[in-house]
């Protein structure tokens, strides 16, 4: 609680300053514009969340004519992002290189497999967020989250599948909510699958008893005819569309929320005028019809933060994640 309070306090003090620099940035942004095509890196293989973000934003920027220069989507897979980060970290000050980012930029370094974390790069903007969703089989006995955690308390071996490795997003999310519900975070028998889809098929086949994954990914699977059913979402308020009927954790008396945010970062020490240019570019992109259509289809929710806000947010996330990871005994 204390850390959150101070963070907010600092933001309050900095806000007027941020306004000033923002103004200055806007003036300078007139002066700076990219002079060649921008390398927009997805630190993963085609098909995943980062890749979709990079390709969707590049396409919208191009089709809406928001930038004079081309945004070239580039995949640099490896080490859950670590390979791309190592490359980008060595390209200090380059204003023509951006990359898509999300919680792994904090989690992977905490797990000790990347030398570089969010502090090495320049935050540009947070764009969107998704939330976690807890699923069980349609004919399961559990009607809400409290039933599930009650059962877990009695039978700790109960398996909960997720779409990512131990210590990564899905694991932190379920461990966090379990801990908020009064269980031991490390008491969850978390089974790592190589993707949310694989975790959900294992739930449909009855191989695991519950699954935690991204709400956007699960949305297409839910419905009256479906084999699976949702017990709760990690958002602060109810989600829209097909997910509107699913209660939040907080509605069920568990005070916990979890964001699967995605945003854009740039090379270390990117010039301020370039940061201002991109900040503004992405803010304008979020307003376009093209973007809003694609965003809704992909089940994303706008969650824009400017460079400054995003940087503070990342620091706060790191605090929170290291807390849960320490509880899980996964901090090395």
């Amino acid at each position: 609680m204390t850390t959150k309070f101070t963070a907010r306090g600092i933001t309050a003090i900095l806000l007027p300053l941020a306004g000033l620099t923002g103004l200055a940035g806007a003036v300078q942004a007139e002066e700076w514009a990219p002079t060649r095509s921008i390398e927009f890196i997805a630190p993963a293989n085609p098909g995943g969340g980062w890749d979709t973000l990079v390709r969707t934003t590049s396409r919208v920027i191009q089709s809406e004519g928001l930038a004079d220069q081309n945004f070239a989507a580039i995949n640099v897979p490896g080490g859950g992002g670590a390979v791309a980060w190592a490359q980008i970290a060595n390209d200090s000050g380059n204003p023509h290189k951006l990359f898509a980012t999300s919680p792994p930029i904090i989690l992977v370094p905490l797990a000790g497999t990347s030398r570089y974390d969010h502090t090495h790069f320049t935050p540009i903007a947070r764009l969107i967020t998704d939330y976690s969703i807890v699923l069980v089989q349609a004919d399961s006995d559990y009607q809400d989250l409290n039933d599930l955690f009650e059962a877990m308390r009695e039978r700790p071996s109960m398996s909960v599948g997720g779409g990512s490795a131990p210590g990564s997003m899905d694991h932190i999310s379920i461990a966090g909510v379990a801990s908020a519900a009064g269980l031991e975070a490390s008491g969850v028998n978390y089974i790592a699958f190589s993707g949310g889809g694989e975790a959900m098929t294992n739930l449909m086949g009855g191989h695991v008893e519950a699954v935690i994954t991204g709400a956007g990914e699960a949305a297409g699977q839910l419905g009256p005819e479906s084999d699976i059913r949702a017990l709760g979402v990690s958002s602060p308020e109810r989600l829209g569309g097909p997910l509107a009927e699913i209660a939040t954790y907080q509605e069920q008396g568990i005070d916990y929320t979890f964001d699967i945010w995605r945003g854009v970062m740039g090379t270390p020490d990117m010039p301020a005028e370039a940061v201002a240019y991109y900040e503004d570019l992405f803010a304008r992109m979020l307003e376009t019809d093209d973007w809003q259509e694609a965003r809704d289809q992909l089940g994303w929710i706008d969650a824009y933060q400017s460079s400054e806000e995003f940087g503070d947010f990342l620091d706060a996330q790191k605090e929170e994640f290291s807390g849960v990871l320490t509880e899980l005994g996964l901090i090395r």
Binding site: N45, G47, D51, R59, G79, T113, F193, S194, G197, E198
Partner: protein
């Protein structure tokens, strides 16, 4: 009857002039992509997402599906001609396809690959159409324990893939498993055998190893034997025609491998590569002339080619009926469909029958196009073999390097390619077979992950592997396939 009506409806969509053009464009692009080692369907499809965005969803999927199965269709060419697999699913094709090419039967090998691909593709579309909704049950019935058992069964093929010495085959398989566990362990997040570099965190890509131990090792081997080796004969392509006896010979393997390949494809995570290996090793065991597999047996080309195309079609079952991608390629397809506003899943058959039946009908058309497109091209593609040897060797080298670099844009992977090339040469000189290494590399990581997942769910109880009926039967079949040849041998000895 209902399926037939639906299919007619699907043809109504697939036969629209624009959609015919998309099928043709898709399979044509796919064939080319498949022929080039390294450049696989995944990256090609990712590049196409922006193009398909503005298209009608059924047309978009028709185009992208065409690229996918077109690539698997075309991938056999470089396996057969250069010993360099074009896509992961055609590694097994090179086991007999390349020896055939060396014996002056390249034309025949390519023709068999094309016919087998066509039949495998077509049989599996019929399956996809008739039983897809039911099959989604099969796909979810496979949990960690069942996958483990399936991988064990797959690994028993090491015995049939090690030609002369079983011990050397087993050693190669163990090395393959060791390579497969390099990188971050999914169950614990522990980094294994990465020697502190970020480049090994995701392990070594299977195609780097395959191109190294097959294609590059072949180049080294030819160099080592010296330029004094005889020039390739003129007209080394040979005839494309199959005799009636040959057609009869490959009909069985193609039929069986098509069915096996399709069901392997239905299982999420198994896919074309495993399907082709299972098809190959099954036929090798069944065949009376099994000992000539690996030396240019036509059945050894027919079986994996039928299986990999059937598996490719099979992988559409979990995608279209469950909305769950079973492989990297179908994951990209799923992403593209979501962007077009389609969420595949149980409801899609009802909500968007045009997409489901349109793409199925287009697959029939696409397979015919592939056959018509590929057969006349064979003599031209096979001309590659008539090149002077120094040119040919440099060409293989360039293909391998572009392929590997194109996958990861990493120079370090090129060094790995070189390393595996040298390893492959060493294995060849000392009589270690390369196929078990590749098989173990493919199956090893899935086997290990599934085993540990199953044990974590069961709380460490090993009985989980025999408590589940599917897993138990797969393990029994695996045990039998190892024991029966032994029993046979003992019986023979006892009799004599």
């Amino acid at each position: 009857m209902e399926a037939l009506n639906n299919l007619m409806y699907g043809f109504g969509i697939a036969l629209q002039p624009m959609n015919i053009a998309y099928v043709f464009g898709g399979v044509f692009a796919g064939t080319i992509i498949g022929m080039l080692p390294g450049l696989g369907p995944i990256s090609a499809l990712a590049l196409m997402i922006p193009i398909t965005f503005a298209m009608e969803p059924s047309s978009g999927l028709i185009l992208m599906a065409g690229v996918y199965y077109g690539a698997i269709f075309g991938g056999s060419s470089s396996s057969i001609l250069l010993n360099a697999p074009g896509v992961a699913g055609t590694v097994a094709t090179s086991f007999d396809g390349y020896p055939m090419a060396k014996q002056g039967m390249a034309g025949k090998a390519l023709a068999i690959a094309a016919y087998a691909s066509f039949v495998g593709g077509t049989i599996s579309i019929v399956f996809l159409m008739m039983v897809a909704p039911m099959l989604s049950r099969v796909a979810v019935a496979f949990g960690p324990a069942e996958y483990f058992a399936l991988m064990v069964l797959g690994l028993t093929a090491v015995v049939s893939l090690s030609d002369k010495s079983l011990v050397k085959g087993l050693i190669a398989a163990v090395v393959g498993i060791m390579i497969s566990i390099i990188g971050i362990d999914l169950q614990t997040g522990t980094v294994r055998f990465a020697f502190g570099t970020t480049h090994l965190l995701d392990g070594i890509d299977f195609l780097v190893v395959a191109l190294g131990v097959f294609a590059l090792a072949e180049v080294f081997y030819m160099l080592l034997r010296g330029g004094g080796g005889k020039e390739p004969e003129r007209n080394a392509i040979g005839s494309l025609r199959l005799s009636r006896r040959e057609v009869k010979e490959i009909a069985g393997p193609i039929g069986r491998s098509s069915v096996l390949g399709f069901f392997t494809g239905v299982l999420p995570g198994a896919g074309a590569t495993i399907g082709s290996f299972l098809g190959y090793s099954m036929e090798k065991r069944i065949a009376k002339d099994g000992d000539t597999f690996g030396k240019g047996n036509i059945k050894g080309v027919a079986a994996p080619e039928a299986a990999n195309n059937a598996a490719c079609t099979g992988s559409f079952v979990p995608l279209l009926t469950l909305g769950v991608p079973g492989s990297g390629t179908t994951a990209v397809l799923l992403g593209a469909l979501l962007v077009m506003g389609i969420s595949p899943g149980p409801a899609m058959l009802v909500d968007r029958p045009d997409v489901f039946w349109g793409v199925i009908a287009s697959m029939y058309i696409g397979n015919i196009m592939l056959l018509v497109l590929n057969l006349p091209l064979i003599p031209y593609i096979a001309k590659i073999l008539e090149m002077p040897r120094p040119l040919l060797l440099s060409l293989i080298l360039i293909f391998c390097m572009i392929g590997v670099y194109g996958m990861s844009f990493s120079v370090i992977d090129l060094l790995f390619l070189l390393g595996f090339g040298l390893m492959g040469l060493g294995m060849r000189l000392f009589g270690f077979p390369a196929a078990p290494l590749i098989l173990a590399l493919i199956l090893g990581s899935i086997m290990e992950e599934s085993m540990r997942r199953a044990l974590q769910i069961s709380g460490g109880d090993w009985m989980v592997f025999v408590d589940k009926p599917i897993s138990m039967w797969l393990l029994i079949i695996a045990a039998l396939s190892l024991l029966l040849p032994l029993v046979k041998k003992v019986m023979q000895r006892a009799r004599s």
